[in-house]
Symmetry: C2
Subunit: 339 residues, 2 copies
DNA sequence: GTGAAAGCGCTAACAG
DNA sequence: CTGTTAGCGCTTTCAC
């Protein structure tokens, strides 16, 4: 049997001796079509296996029903367990509302903002999801300037200018640092994230505030900056462990760096959880299975993904958002690495 | 300044006193338009910031210039470091050829095949990328039946019916097992993947063949099956470590399970690399930073992503593929966990 | 070399 | 209740 091209409204109309308009309205469930006709149309549509052509409809409606997500980094070794979970969240929520998710990258040669510019100019998407927000985020500036709807995971400098969901990183690191202080640690080092990232500021501030509140002196040498990879956490920890007096606790701005720090501690012949405490942020699934298991701050990343998609879709549909900005309180997950 | 809607061919034509047709052809670089006119059109287009409307063009050309990728699993804790790297690969290659990448999921309530059915029926994509191939893969059956172009990462039962790229998992596990044998191990256990996955068969076969070739007896109790998560690797290793005589080496079908096995070995008070060897498969970045670093089999997942996209696009453009099927030889990465 | 006209498949304003 | 008409923005015959 030959493969024929999929049926269109035309085909149904012809088969039934009706006009395309009537068929369209019958299927859309409009009330101004006779019940009997509606039924006939529906049955014929089912029989012929009719499915609306997504693009024809979109061209007409001047909407794309598509959300854009541009991967915030490129390069061959972009490997973030956190990320796949987030993607599952946004993918599921988008699918549930019958929205498509257009995922793109900015290749090695391309500037990140060009990828946004292109999607907007060629009207490929109705709005964007942003992650890894930066303090003065060029993407935010661009989208605001062009009045393109978007929702971010993470705050920016323009706190009230756009909807976002974030986890209170300052509270998270405050709690983590306090935990260490309660266990008698006084030389608590911090492996931070690149300072242009918004969450880097919050988390660092939480760490500092906890120390200040406890009246514990702060040593600039105890604060290192990594790039969120295991490798950078590993190297930062090596530096910190060579200091004398040696820090007794290493807090990292994310789990991947904390994993690197674990390796460095082991390699230095020290015992994690005994000689040196280590903790992270994110609570990736792996954190429960390191040796020893990693103390960390949980972020409900899957739910956050769902949530920002729901917000963006509400925005696109002109529905009012109950909350423009959502700050979630993090949950401390205490395991053996930082008892 | 008010935001006006983006310029169309109409707008350019009007501004220049030309017809839409001519403008279209000038911009497309057709030769049958006067050089002077072409130049005028080009300049005006640039001046007005004209960008073609992606969907209008696609509707007309009856192509979508979009590739579909449906995440092979759902649920909140889908966290695979391997996956984000793959996505970066397919994203970059697609962007380079000016193709869009439509990423979708099948939500909890939806059957996986329905997601494919929908994308095909509503003509949202031109072709698909598939990963985690199964032996008798329903997706492959569906796409073959409907003559939808696709390329898989991983073989299926229908080896010659579709283009694929795969890493020779049998050779990988053969080499890994041989490495253990050379170091005197005789009780080598295996934590396999779900048997419906195609790669599970190959890897298990490699393990078995290496033992058989060496004349080492095989014990069914030494072969466990996990679901590719750390958690399942952890539990499988616990079972294996309780056996007497105890296996001296644990090989896992992927790195995530190997990481779980590392934790179980530590927890049992044994030393990895000394009392018990552990190895994995994938070579995720983390594998270099476990304690001890993990011996594994490297898969160039980023390049594989790029490659299958390149193949799919060639297919869609009707270009002949130099190779319909590509079997890559894996590279053994020997680290301290399995010396 | 240029333009008029048709149409991709769908929806919406307006008659009747 | 149903059909006619128009058009989303673009490409592609086919005349002139």
């Amino acid at each position: 049997m030959a493969v024929s091209s999929p049926p269109t409204l035309q085909d149904i109309a012809r088969a039934l001796g009706l006009s395309v308009t009537t068929v369209s309205r019958a299927l859309a469930g409009y009330s101004d079509v006779a019940p009997a006709t509606r039924e006939r149309v529906r049955q014929m549509a089912r029989k012929m296996g009719y499915r609306p052509h997504a693009w024809a409809r979109r061209l007409r409606q001047r909407r794309t029903d598509t959300l854009g997500f541009i991967i915030p980094t490129h390069g061959p070794r972009f490997s973030d367990p956190f990320f796949s979970e987030f993607l599952a969240g946004i993918g599921n929520e988008a699918a549930q509302h019958d929205y498509d998710l257009l995922v793109s990258t900015h290749g090695p040669g391309q500037r990140e903002i060009d990828a946004y510019e292109r999607m907007v100019a060629e009207r490929r998407v109705d709005g964007f999801l942003l992650v890894r927000t930066r303090v003065d985020d060029p993407r935010v500036r661009f989208l605001l300037a062009h009045q393109v709807p978007f929702v971010t995971f993470g705050r920016t400098q323009a706190e009230n200018a756009h909807p976002w969901v974030d986890v209170d990183g300052e509270a998270g690191l405050y709690a983590l640092t306090q935990l260490c202080l309660q266990h008698g640690h006084r030389r608590i080092a911090y492996i931070g994230a690149p300072p242009d990232l918004m969450h880097a500021r919050h988390r660092l501030a939480g760490y500092r505030r906890a120390l200040a509140d406890a009246g514990v002196p702060q040593n600039p040498a105890w604060v290192q900056v990594g790039d969120l990879t295991e490798e950078s956490g590993y190297r930062a920890a090596q530096v910190l462990l060579r200091l004398r007096p040696r820090p007794t606790a290493l807090l990292a701005a994310n789990d991947l760096m904390a994993l690197g720090a674990l390796a460095a501690v082991h390699e230095a012949g020290l015992q994690v959880g005994k000689d040196v405490a280590v903790a992270g942020f994110d609570d990736v699934p792996l954190a429960a299975h390191t040796q020893p298991p990693l103390t960390t701050v949980h972020q409900p990343i899957y739910d956050i993904g769902r949530r920002i998609v729901a917000m963006l879709i509400a925005l696109l549909r002109g529905q009012p958002l109950p909350q423009q900005q959502v700050l979630l309180q993090p949950r401390l997950v205490v395991r053996a690495s930082c008892p």
